[in-house]
């Protein structure tokens, strides 16, 4: 594994654009003809900013997130992530960018069931070849309040606890941009609020850019900016 973290590769000063989408479209073939999931989306996200992408189900939020994070390729248009034009990179090139700059938090947590909480957090650190993965992972789990549950497996943890492990994992490599897909979608209000607190605390501490997809208004309100999607187009911005 050679995705070595190199913060210099961010090459972006605070306040400058770190994620940019220009004329972004995503079209998928269906039985009844092509379906436009996203059409001509343009947006700029500044370094250190927190942005919520909101909209109803099927408005194209998750598709946009996937494109911005380089998990998928657009049908047309470009995505620039810390000056890397993702559409010009092949899948391995995008993987390298992800490894260096991006962290993820998912609605369904996506913890590896065969790994303990500690091992799940260690994984990205190990992938990037860091020697003290164990120490860093312990510190992060301590930070999200799971210092006592290090050796527990995902199935032994509650939903909120699993999401906290996922957050610790996302912040482990000190990402420049953190993408979160409905991070509280599977959690009750109280637990969701706790998760959001932790997410924003870590975001502030590490100066990470936060891009999250949600239809939770409470969560969206805590972000500096909200981009509203409707039927694959930007319908407004607050």
């Amino acid at each position: 594994m050679n995705a070595v973290i190199n913060r210099n590769s961010i090459d972006t000063a605070p306040g400058q654009t770190i994620v940019a989408a220009s004329d972004l479209s995503k079209r998928v073939p269906t039985v009844s003809g092509d379906l436009d999931i996203l059409s001509s989306v343009n947006l700029d996200i500044k370094r250190g900013e927190s942005v919520a992408i909101v909209g109803v189900s099927g408005s194209g939020k998750s598709t946009l997130l996937g494109l911005l994070a380089g998990l998928d390729v657009p049908s047309s248009g470009t995505v620039t992530l810390a000056r890397h034009r993702l559409s010009e990179l092949d899948e391995d090139g995008r993987a390298k960018v992800r490894g260096q700059l991006v962290g993820f938090v998912f609605q369904s947590f996506q913890l590896l069931p065969s790994l303990s909480a500690l091992e799940n957090v260690m994984l990205p650190l190990e992938l990037s070849g860091q020697r003290d993965a164990d120490r860093q992972a312990r510190a992060l789990l301590q930070r999200v309040g799971l210092g006592e549950r290090l050796d527990h497996y995902p199935k032994q943890l509650s939903g909120g606890e699993q999401q906290r492990v996922a957050i610790a994992r996302a912040f482990a490599v000190g990402p420049a941009v953190l993408f979160a897909d409905e991070p509280t979608g599977n959690l009750d209000n109280t637990t969701g609020s706790r998760i959001i607190d932790i997410l924003f605390q870590l975001n502030a501490e590490q100066g990470t850019t936060l891009v999250l997809v949600t239809h939770d208004e409470h969560l969206a309100q805590r972000c500096q900016r909200r981009i509203r999607l409707d039927a694959g187009r930007i319908a407004g911005e607050e």
């Binding site: 594994m1 050679n2 992800r98 490894g99 065969s114 992938l127």
Partner: protein, 830 residues
């Protein structure tokens, strides 16, 4: 240590802990253990059997020649590190007072025999013991019937030519009694140094030189090749296969069977591995997607899983080797009484064979599904429904087929066997898949007429038609492999048993004169001794085919064959011998065809390029006889009954002097009658075959044992396939089960549903197996094992039943977690 290796190790350790690798490793261990154990077993047993066959030949290789063998050839053998012994055979008259008898005398040197032992006794028909040395200078050893005929006592002297030799021992068994048993006079053994003193060997004497060679296999092989390029028409080279067809056939068949069984065990385990690997791969889509999110490139994923697979391969194979080694040791310990005491030790080769088998099977069957992991899209973290494009059929099946071909080549070194099994498997897989779909469609029709449990089961099978077909195919092929191996085993054993029944003839009586025929027949009848017909024999030589001199008609190799060079026994008969079979032309009607025809043995005909209606010219005495080939016949050479290359209708050979031959079974209790028989018919020569038959029986018993043992491994491998197949679909079943229970299905309903589904699956697989077994077994029997085939109707009853019971039970047991785990836990884990 590189980062990838460390990570691979760490992830692997965690997977192991989580039980993700169990099926994969278990199947691998079984494959390797089976291959190693069978390899050890056949290696050791094979060497033991070869040793025993060598014991019968008295050497690993024997060169028979009508002229003295060039000393340079012997020197060459010695230089290659081989041991060499020389013998010389000739016919001579032995005298004791007024008594005289013709004997086949064999002069042997101090090295004789190189393999096996001479056996002898101190009293006539007394207990015989192994003799550590052959006759000393000045000594002669005689067979019991010579001792009886000459009325000589141990220590008394016998005249042979110009010398007098002392009777040192009564000879009961002599290794390497090569040659034509029908004309073998009673045997006498003397020391080679006494030969000159006898003065019986001079210019023009008919002599048979035999040089024996022994040494390790590669050296013997090398020397054999060297020698074969130099052989002249006067030479005949015998090795343990050619020397003794009765044993050679059994060993050949056993080797083929064992090779085939190992192969099937390995392929079955391969199928299990493929299924295990597929499940492993599917359960790692999320990991791969996560790793891709964390920045791992496709190449990183590839390296990671390839490394993991390599580690699994090395560890699993090593474990399998250890298990295999222990298994064969355990078996040999259990069977100490049955197996020869001087069993050769184990070499290291079987471990390498087992290890390589493991790696090949893993590479062929596990690599393609695991490699799919590299193609997992990172977007899967957002959309779990994204699964990688399936690996191309060519990659999956190509790798599997390549692995199978590699293994076949290793185990059989036999092109025809490899082709039959490979073509059969591929054709069977395609045909059976279609058949499975058809059966499934048919079964679906029944769903409106059955209870809710069966409907649930039927619907399950139909809904996942593709998976169901794959499973029916996997189970069907597994049952088929088991059935074929079981069938071949049973028929092999039956063939061996009928080849040498307990009352197989153990004596040959030859040189029976025309006027003695009635007397000999009456003697045998009077003492209730069962025997074969008495066949007349006329000595003759085949000299031309269709008017072309023999040497010009056949290939050089065929021309060197013993049956061309020597005089053969020609016989006549109205009826076809019971164990002969006409494979071309027709046998003549009783009373004779009224024209000059002959029936020829099949292999000789093939070797000498003789076809139906060819004109054969024989030289008998000073006259010639011509006959048209009316039929081609197969002969059971290993039946211990009189057998003939050429048979004529009665009347054709009337003008030539004939003697008669018969074979009969005389139990040990009746042995004293033998002396009476010899005294009543002094010119008749009786050959005792008990010792040779004992050896053959012993070898067959061991081969039987090996065959049984191998079967156990094939069955074991089959069960692993069943387990792996169940495991492979367990996740989906868990999920569905949880859903159904959430919807209110009771445990009893679900249990009955599962039972119905698996019983049906097993029945369909069994039907498929029966069909495949019939085809494959027919191909194998007729093309490979050289056995007779008959329709196996039992398979059509047993296979579906066994399938239903076995797979029903295994499925029922394997899906218990579906009922046991709470739906909530299942939903959270999957």
């Amino acid at each position: 240590m590189s980062n990838t290796l460390m990570l691979a190790l760490r992830l692997l350790r965690r997977d192991w802990r989580a039980g993700e690798l169990r099926v994969l490793v278990a199947a691998l261990v079984i494959a390797v253990a089976a291959a190693t154990a069978i390899s050890f077993f056949t290696d050791r047993l094979g060497r033991a059997m070869v040793n025993q066959s060598a014991d019968m030949l008295g050497a690993d290789l024997a060169l028979v020649s009508s002229r003295a063998v060039a000393s340079a050839w012997l020197e060459q053998a010695r230089q290659r590190g081989l041991r060499v012994a020389e013998t010389l055979e000739f016919a001579s008259v032995l005298l004791k007072g007024d008594e005289s008898s013709l004997a086949a005398v064999k002069a042997v040197d101090d090295n004789y025999p190189l393999r096996g032992f001479l056996r002898g006794s101190d009293t006539l028909y007394g207990t015989d013991l192994i003799a550590q040395r052959g006759p000393q200078v000045g000594e002669i050893w005689l067979e019991p019937r010579l001792v009886a005929a000459l009325q000589v006592e141990l220590g008394e002297h016998i005249e042979i030519g110009a010398s007098r030799l002392r009777l040192g021992r009564i000879l009961t068994y002599e290794p390497g009694r090569a040659g034509d048993v029908y004309w073998m006079a009673p045997r006498a053994l003397i020391h080679l140094s006494d030969l000159d003193r006898t003065e019986v060997v001079g210019p023009g004497s008919r002599l048979s030189y035999q040089v024996l060679f022994a040494g390790d296999e590669t050296r013997i092989g090398g020397y054999k090749t060297w020698l074969q390029q130099r052989l002249g028409p006067e030479h005949n080279l015998l090795d343990i296969h050619e020397g003794r067809p009765a044993v050679g056939n059994a060993i050949d068949r056993a080797e083929r069977y064992l090779g085939l069984s190992t192969l099937i065990a390995a392929v079955l385990a391969g199928v299990a591995i493929a299924m295990g690997a597929r499940r492993y791969s599917e359960r790692h889509y999320d990991v791969s997607a996560m790793l891709r999110c964390f920045g791992a490139s496709q190449n990183d994923i590839l390296k990671l899983y390839a490394t993991q697979l390599l580690i699994v391969g090395i560890v699993g194979s090593a474990l399998g080797c250890a298990v295999g080694w222990a298994a064969q040791h355990g078996l040999f310990a259990l069977l100490r009484g049955v197996l020869p005491a001087d069993l050769p030790g184990t070499g290291f080769a079987p471990v390498i064979v087992g290890f390589l088998t493991g790696m090949i099977v893993l590479a062929g069957f596990a690599l393609p599904p695991v490699l799919r992991l590299k193609a997992v899209s990172p977007l899967r973290v957002l959309r779990r429904d994204l699964i990688p494009m399936p690996a191309s059929g060519l990659a999956v099946y190509g790798a599997g087929v390549a692995a199978i071909v590699l293994l076949m080549w290793r185990y059989t070194e036999d092109v025809s066997l490899t082709l039959v099994v490979l073509a059969g498997t591929i054709a069977a897989a395609v045909a059976l898949a279609a058949l499975a779909l058809l059966l499934l469609r048919f079964a679906r029709v029944l769903r409106t007429r059955v209870g809710v449990a069966w409907r649930f089961g039927l619907n399950n099978l139909w809904r996942r038609a593709q998976v169901s077909v794959t499973q029916i195919l996997a189970f069907g092929l597994t049952l088929m492999a088991m059935a074929v191996i079981l069938l071949v085993r049973t028929d092999l054993l039956t063939t061996w048993k009928t080849q040498l029944p307990d009352d197989a003839p153990n004596h040959f009586a030859i040189n029976i004169m025309e006027e003695q025929v009635d007397g000999a027949r009456a003697f045998l009848q009077q003492h209730a001794i069962p025997g074969s017909n008495l066949y007349p024999m006329v000595r003759g030589r085949l000299i031309a085919i269709n008017g072309v001199i023999l040497r010009d008609h056949v290939s050089k190799e065929a021309a060197n064959h013993g049956s061309v060079n020597r005089e053969l026994n020609l016989t006549w008969s109205d009826t076809l011998p019971a164990d002969n079979k006409i494979v071309g032309g027709r046998w003549w009607q009783p009373g004779g065809p009224g024209q000059a025809v002959v029936s020829v043995e099949q292999r000789l005909a093939a070797r000498m390029n003789i076809g139906l209606d060819d004109r054969l010219t024989f030289s008998i005495g000073s006259r010639e006889l011509e006959a048209r080939v009316a039929s081609i016949r197969t002969v059971q050479w290993d039946s211990f009954r009189p057998n003939f290359f050429f048979m004529f209708p009665p009347g054709m050979l009337d003008d030539f002097p004939a003697t008669y031959i018969t074979s009969f079974y005389m139990p040990p209790t009746q042995k004293p009658l033998l002396a009476d028989f010899v005294r009543s018919f002094p010119s008749v020569t009786v050959l005792e075959l008990d010792l040779i038959m004992g050896l053959v029986r012993n070898i067959l018993a061991q081969v039987t044992l090996a065959v049984e043992y191998v079967l156990a491994f094939v069955l074991l491998a089959g069960f692993v396939v069943l387990y792996a197949a169940l495991q492979a679909s367990l996740d989906e079943r868990l999920y569905e089960g949880a859903l159904l229970r959430t919807l209110g299905a009771s445990r009893t309903q679900m249990r009955a549903g599962h039972l119905a589904e698996f019983c049906l699956l097993g029945t369909l697989a069994g039907l498929l197996a029966a069909f495949g077994t019939e085809v494959i077994a027919w191909l194998m029997y007729t093309r490979v094992m050289d056995l007779d085939y008959s329709f196996k109707w039992q398979v059509w009853l047993v296979a579906p039943l066994v399938g239903a019971v076995l797979i029903g039970a295994a499925g029922y047991w394997g899906t218990r977690p579906v009922l046991r785990q709470s739906p909530l836990v299942v939903f959270r884990e999957l």
